[in-house]
């Protein structure tokens, strides 16, 4: 497995940016032109995509949908503070190594130390973690490195080799190179600035809340029972609420929850009273709720 070069040149998963958009729409992800363009380009250039934006705008879902669309397996690395090599790259299964050595003693075989050493540091005793798993995969995979802004700056360096060379160096084994360049998505909520080195290796995609038209499409797709007029009112009200100064503006999934709630309640037209009663589906902070219901019951002008 050492030194095997990446076959399957990047750049044949999607036919065109428009085709990418259609393909994503088929698996239920309504991307805008910009998103489709960057995903298409990432494939053509063989580069990872760094997706940044507020929570609940569909960053993680994008990776899942691309996997579904291309029929690839999703390998996910969830980042957290304190993530290290043994959780991200690989770990030696040292219990198994120990057993192997003990079995040796029991069987009274006379294997030389060198043989034993090369035996217990072989692939059989390696436990691949997400990054190595994605690199070694025989089948097509999409690698998702979720919430990369949560790891410390030092840990980011772990990712660099994987992201630029699509390889992992295991000192005892040599370098493991990907057989096919996987599609890689990194997501970030921008709680801290990522290092320049990481950003340089990625294509950057900022994902904001969708435009009213696109969100309306999303609502109509995901909540098919809803009436057009109500969907329209819902997304416009949400857009209005997002413009207020809130602690946590509503995400797309909260819009969907709200739309579903209204459908279940049999509402056909939104008025301030109903909006105020159901607003707690959309907003989770008490101060946000108070503020939004106050502003929504105000009159225009």
């Amino acid at each position: 497995m050492t030194g095997m070069s990446a076959t399957g040149t990047p750049g044949n998963r999607f036919s065109s940016p428009a085709g990418t958009k259609e393909g994503l729409a088929r698996v239920g992800y309504l991307a805008d032109d910009g998103t489709a363009a960057v995903v298409y380009l990432a494939d053509r250039l063989g580069k990872p995509v760094l997706v940044e934006g507020p929570a609940g705008t569909g960053k993680t879902q994008l990776a899942k949908s691309v996997a579904e669309m291309t029929g690839a397996r999703l390998v996910r690395l969830q980042c957290y503070e304190g993530l290290d090599e043994s959780k991200a790259l690989y770990e030696w299964n040292y219990k198994k190594q120990l057993l192997r050595i003990q079995a040796e003693q029991v069987a009274k075989q006379t294997e030389s130390w060198e043989e034993l050493e090369s035996d217990i540091f072989s692939e059989d005793f390696l436990m691949p973690r997400p990054l190595l798993e994605a690199i070694r995969a025989q089948d097509p995979v999409v690698l998702l490195i979720d919430e990369v802004d949560r790891v410390e700056v030092e840990t980011e360096a772990l990712l660099l080799e994987v992201l630029s060379e699509y390889q992992v160096s295991v000192p005892e084994l040599g370098t493991v190179t990907a057989r096919q360049v996987p599609m890689v998505f990194l997501t970030s909520n921008n709680t801290r600035e990522l290092s320049e080195a990481l950003k340089r290796r990625c294509l950057f995609l900022h994902m904001d809340y969708p435009s009213a038209e696109r969100e309306r499409e999303i609502v109509l797709t995901r909540v098919p029972e809803i009436q057009q007029d109500l969907a329209d009112q819902v997304v416009r009200t949400v857009a209005l609420v997002r413009d207020m100064e809130l602690k946590k503006p509503p995400s797309v999934s909260e819009t969907l929850d709200w739309a579903r709630t209204l459908v279940v309640l049999g509402v056909s037209k939104l008025d301030p009273e109903i909006a105020r009663q159901t607003l707690n589906v959309l907003l989770k902070h008490r101060s946000d709720l108070e503020r939004a219901s106050k502003e929504l019951s105000a009159t225009a002008g």
Partner: protein
Amino acid sequence: MSAPSPETTLGDGLLSALAGFVGELRTAGVPVSTTELLDAVEAVRQLPITERATLKAGLAGCLVKNEGHWRTFEALFDLYFSIGIGMALASQEDLEGFPAHLDDSASSDQLSAAELSEMAYRALMEGNRELMAALAKAAVSRYAGMEPMRPVGASYYVFKTLRQLQADALLSQLLARAGEQPALQGLLDADLYRRRMEQLRRELEADVTRRLVAERGPMAVAKATRRALPEDMDFMHLGREELAALKRAVQPLARKLAVHLARKRRGHKDGRLDFRATMRRSLSSGGAPVDPRFKSPRRSKPELWVLADISGSVAAFARFTLQLVYALSSQFSRTRAWAFIDGIDEVTDLLKGAGDIASAVSSINTQADVIWAEGHSDYGHALADFANRWGAEVTSRTTVLVLGDARSNYHPAEPWALADISARARKLWWLNPEPSAYWDTGDSVLAQYGVHCTGVYECRNLRQLKTFIEQLD
């Protein structure tokens, strides 16, 4: 990286447009490395160049790795690629549409002012994109009065056109119409009209920019309209739009600052030996303490105290200061805030009680007792007063942040007050909105205070604020 696709070969025109574009991006302060430039070249080769939105997003993905730089990118992209590409590729749309509307005065001047305003009303009512674009073209031809070689940016002409179109009157007319609707619907419609007005403004800007570029070339226009990146804009000289941008930028920074302070609370395993637990564990090993236990260190809950100068000399900075303080107090519950001019008053409750920053500022201006004698900065009196009234509450968990220019109008500086606070506090930082070259000139007494601070930082823009926050660890 991958084989060039056979159908597109890069024309010289496109490549030079890209080179000029990246050059201008770099001049504007957006960092573009060579790798990223090469990616962009590859991107232009791979993407269908006739679809502008796709090309724009693709190039942004390669070149812009910071959301705050997006607007700069967008403006420059419009300069270099609206025409640049058209000429390089002789794309139909640009060649047909473009020279035509340079001297199209004949056709669109025929629209009378009344017709134009009728068109504007309909465009805003219906939100029809094509109509809006057509309106923009006609309105610019008629109203902007663009003079060749006059070195002004697009915004001047846009402003002129909007005024002649009587856009404000139109909008209030529409808003009044929305006001007649039942409550929520009216609100939604009003929001819609405002957004459409914004869209019209953008259409106008795009049209004016196109004309400017055709006349002078993208480089000259870029030079005339060059603006600092959001993080480099001086707090002291912010326009209305920039203030709004600042408001958005301050929120995540306040969160970062709060995260930095909160992170300190997570315990490290360097506590002292827990004798009792160790003895208890040692029972299983016959009294030998083989497994020492440690106390986890007591977690202190850090507090952040902010002292903000809100006097006239730093008025613009004070707006930012209050924004930061407001954002901080919403992110970090243990924030207390004081405002001072020559007197000092605690404004924590005013900030917490206010629903948004505007009402917070107005309640501070009306209710806080910050004027002691004459209403000109007197750091000495304000700090001494602070030390006397609240000094005793400063503990080793308190981080104190002073925001001000230390220009004390030649009043006594009373540095002992700050020394007293500093001795009690965990850290005391001073952020100064003045360029460091001006420190300690005239009535600035920063040096007398500086010696008692953990650190004094120049803080004139977001970049410097970011640097300050990042060094806190």
